[in-house]
Symmetry: C2
Subunit: 276 residues, 2 copies
């Protein structure tokens, strides 16, 4: 593993690291914020999954999460959103291929050789960060924005016991019923494959999450028709899922929205991470 | 108007008053908490509508609202839930007739002569409290529990400009699709009458509310199938209604649930009542 940069940040260290990925069969880069407390022993960790077009860098520089994570003594991981490199398949559109891994394991040509983002985020990267940094693997939580909110919710519900809490900012909430979803699931996965396993509204209907859930959505989000937040809200309440769904007046889909509510999300996760 | 009792309470006064009601054509009793600040001029007011079987007294003694209202300098009104007295029609069941006015104007026999709870709460009682107490009628908000949550939401959406904010604890959220609703609307209103005007999920779908909305629901509420909170949650988010829906883990339908979140609700309303 190669250290690309390390900056002192809110008393801790914001690092960027590169490693050869077995899952994605290419080099992968991620950001990791370690609070000051990590000098003295393992700290809890909050995963942040990013949205379409993002790399590891967007949230790391624009979401303002380190301030609150430092206050709570929590590490932050910022994975990339897709495999990268010259040998990796891509598409002309912004919402397929590089920057648009959708947190699934592709089985279809030409994506299957590298687009294994589920395994990367669920298996390989956790091994790497717990082996190399002082992270308490029993205290993990997950959040994300847009496509990353989709990733956070689907990972949290599909890996019971892994995450103590899950939150999302304007998640792609019902991809099997949206052009943000049908296109990507159709490209990456076989027709007839289990798309429902990658739809947080359907997972919520089926099984829910064994812990608290927080979802924020801006009322002036320019992508509301693609995100379908009403499907997730309905499913959460129909399931009696302990949690909170907030429709935030006038906010759009940008990182200004994410940053505005990041303190609430970090504090929400801190409560779960420090319980018992 | 007759004063039945006045008790000093959190530096203010908790009063109970009786008056001859034109709307209900019987004597009606209500509770009113005035904070200390009312000595110096008009104060904002939060209406609290109660649920099935309640009188003006239940929330006044069990919801713990005065503590937070005193802190915020807000008055509280606790209306009764139906007309009362020997000449008033009733039913053997707990959920029809006395204690179960459902916040509608009855048009059917034998209910029409007295069961005019919409007019009482929307028109007559506001006139009485603003005429007799130092209440700022431009700063009103409304909340309620169960049938009262239904009342609060339907009044707030049907009287644009009247209330700055609305909240509800475990509201009867979709009465046209529930036995808590079809029975009462069927008894009080004509078949073919506009039941939709008394269904907060349908009103939310149609028009929403021009202000913030907060709904709390307990995940172990014994009446979830009758309340149908998922219909309201879906409608709120589909409408992009600025607001928050919280599914509170393990809470039931009791006043222990209401009291547990009363501070949040009073503070939520205070923010709207003191804006600008």
């Amino acid at each position: 593993m190669e250290t690309l940069s390390e900056n002192t940040c809110f008393g801790g260290v914001q690092g960027v690291y590169r490693h050869a990925s077995d899952a994605c069969r290419c080099d992968m880069t991620f950001g990791l914020f370690l609070p000051e407390e990590a000098k003295d022993g393992p700290v809890p960790v909050l995963w942040y999954l990013s949205g379409l077009t993002c790399t590891h860098e967007n949230a790391m520089t624009k979401a303002g999460a380190q301030a609150w994570a430092a206050e709570q003594g929590i590490a932050l991981v910022f994975p990339d959103t897709s495999p990268r490199g010259d040998g990796v398949a891509d598409d002309e559109s912004y919402d397929l291929g590089k920057g648009a891994g959708f947190y699934v394991n592709a089985t279809q040509t030409p994506w299957a050789p590298h687009f294994q983002m589920w395994d990367y985020v669920a298996e390989e990267l956790p091994r790497i960060i717990t082996a190399n940094f002082d992270i308490d693997e029993d205290r993990q939580a997950i959040t994300g924005h847009s496509m990353g909110g989709h990733g956070a919710l689907t990972l949290a519900m599909s890996l019971p016991g892994r995450f103590r809490s899950v939150s999302a900012f304007a998640p792609i909430a019902n991809p099997t019923q949206s052009d943000w979803g049908r296109k990507q699931l159709g490209a990456y996965l076989a027709e007839g494959a289990d798309w429902a396993a990658h739809d947080s509204s359907l997972l919520m209907q089926e099984s829910g999450f064994d812990g608290p859930v927080l979802v924020d959505q801006g009322s002036k989000d320019q992508f509301l028709e693609l995100l379908r937040p009403e499907a997730l809200a309905q499913a959460m309440v129909a399931r009696r899922q302990p949690g909170t769904f907030r429709m935030q007046k006038d906010y759009d889909h940008s990182y200004f929205f994410v940053a505005s509510f990041m303190e609430d999300h970090v504090n929400f996760h801190a409560e779960a991470l420090y319980a018992d």
